[in-house]
Subunit: 160 residues, 2 copies
DNA sequence: GATTGACCTCAATATAACTTGAGGTTTTAA
DNA sequence: TTAAAACCTCAAGTTATATTGAGGTCAATC
């Protein structure tokens, strides 16, 4: 009788265990699976089983969300992980590096916005055409998960 | 026959004009009105008419959204404006000051997050218990419009 | 071997912030 | 004066990110 390789080499985590360990609900794990963010296989009774690294994936998903990255973007970035082997530290580091750049951009945008609000406090100009907050050359467009940034049309309010 | 004071002292803007000038759709103006963010009165034919300062309000709403503030929060802050008179520059400046504080907080959080991701790039630890990104003492909870920040339960992934 | 807890699927609900459309009225302008 | 453009209301649809619940199965324990 052959030894169960799966049991020897990988964890065999139930959905309830993963939920408890990761702090997300079972329904969220189902949801993430339909979104292609995590994977599972089924046991004889059609119940989900997970490898241990699903915990790492979930953690990464949550960290990325904290940076304002959407699940779709996260999915795309996760897709760059190797399929054949369990990701290494280097693989994960590459991911966080990608997101760090986005985070830097976001912070820079917020700071520009902050500085502009700053100058507006001084002049009370928040609705005047000279208000620097409405510089149309400095916007990021709409982010799905983050803020809705100004578009140049709003600027038109101040042209008169 | 009495002079129409309204026509003399206030603009009498149609919804289409306001939409064009502010860059938001007519349906959005209706929506903002149901949300209590802007106001209008009706003419004889039941059509909306606006005072000029509605343009400023819309601009402020959009600016606040760009800072990641929800419409509900914006409504609350707008409610601090004087009801009886048209708001002055000082009134608007007070608003932007309130939001600037929130923006500062948000930026500070993002920077802490950035620094943590930074240190994780070095060690590749994004899923290890020592990863500083999962310091439960540093989270903001879930923001409605902005990022979903880490909660302490996610941390539990790394306790083993 | 039966109860209980964990699990399954699928559909509906929730929230924020809007948009779209249907069906009907008012205003404007040629 | 009549056709087009603009307006009205109210209901339903949209996207992202889940949560909840109904109805039924599987697994672990007394």
């Amino acid at each position: 009788m052959p030894i169960d390789q799966k049991k020897l080499t990988e964890a065999n985590l139930t959905v309830g265990y993963v939920a408890k360990r990761s702090g997300v609900k079972v329904s969220t794990l189902h949801f993430y699976e339909t979104k292609g963010l995590i994977r599972s296989w089924r046991n004889g009774g059609n119940q989900r089983r997970y490898k241990k690294d699903v915990l790492r994936r979930i953690a990464v998903v949550k960290a990325a969300q904290a940076m304002g990255i959407t699940l779709d973007e996260i999915k795309q970035t996760l897709a760059t992980l190797p399929e054949q082997r369990t990701p290494t530290q280097k693989d994960w580091a590459a991911l966080s590096k990608q997101w760090q750049a986005q985070l830097d951009e976001r912070i820079a945008y917020m700071q520009r916005l902050r500085d502009k609000v700053d100058s507006c406090i001084g002049c009370g100009c928040l609705s005047l055409k000279s208000c620097p907050i409405y510089n149309k050359d400095d916007h990021l467009g709409k982010t799905q998960n983050g803020a809705v940034f100004l578009n140049s049309k709003v600027e038109s309010i101040f042209q008169e």
